[in-house]
Symmetry: C2
DNA sequence: GCCGATTTATAGCCATCGCTATACTTATTG
DNA sequence: CAATAAGTATAGCGATGGCTATAAATCGGC
């Protein structure tokens, strides 16, 4: 079913809801970066006991000042703390977000694999997809995976 | 499997591939907007015989100058043509891209529904997800859907 | 054919997210 | 306990993608 060619809604209403979808996708994008950084900082702390700016930058594939700027934003949003020339740490909110993001990432990868996507591709695509997976879709994914586990 | 806690690769290589995933997600994001505009312009032309800036802006949920700026970028990229105060049209490249994007969108929505996502949610989430679905994942989705059709 | 309404373009602003270059701390080592 | 190395912060730039306000062009009705 094509998005806007085959409904019987009045045009204004069609457009409004389509615009809403784009608006939501834009909003999602704005938090995606925060989610990625928070998850990665959580990973680094779990692995090394601390998260250094240089490590964060390397893993994110950005230059170091770009990471520094992102960390400033995390601090502004109350997700992380840091003192100059010291490591970065997560607040309770940040750690909780990291956990949610990590779990969602795993679920998305598992679902992609479950429907036949090769593992490498699944990992690659999941990085972008996960941020757009709403609560409802995530719940459906989990239900699907649980069902499939039962059947095998 | 957590992304960076449970492999036996040397750390540098782990980081490199994780960085690559983020880099790719960033690149995808850069073309996502173009894809959305091109698909929408295609829809409008199919419906009304032409795509007006005002209609494009309304459907994208942005102000009219924002749409004008995006159209300028489409023209720069060789995807669309327009003359001042006239409608917007797609080049052959633009039309081909619109077709691919539309088909991918349908497939993503269908797959989400097939794994149990409610239709409304599927439409909403697909708008963001679709751009991150690679050729390989798309092929897997199509195979899965074909398989499921056979079994019912 | 002109005049008001509609549509489109332009100007100029803001925030975000990249980057390089450089300054400043901290750590290390002779 | 310097001097150098390494790590982090700051400054400043460019592109992108939003916005509002305003100018310019086109369209419709009289």
């Amino acid at each position: 079913m094509a998005p806007s060619l085959s409904t019987n809604l009045p045009p204004e209403q069609q457009s409004a809801s389509q615009a809403d979808r784009f608006t939501r996708a834009r909003e999602v994008q704005a938090v995606a970066l925060l989610e990625d950084y928070v998850e990665m900082i959580g990973d680094l702390i779990a692995e090394h006991g601390e998260a250094r700016v240089a490590d964060i930058a390397e893993r994110m594939g950005v230059a170091q000042p770009t990471a520094t700027k992102a960390i400033a934003r995390l601090k502004r949003e109350g997700l992380a703390t840091s003192r100059p020339y010291r490591g970065v740490f997560l607040t309770d909110d940040g750690a909780a977000l990291a956990d949610r993001v990590r779990a969602r990432h795993r679920t998305v990868v598992a679902l992609l694999i479950a429907v036949g996507v090769p593992e490498t591709t699944a990992e690659l695509d999941a990085e972008g997809i996960e941020h757009h997976v709403s609560e409802g879709t995530l719940a459906a994914f989990e239900a699907y995976l649980a069902q499939q586990n039962r059947n095998k």
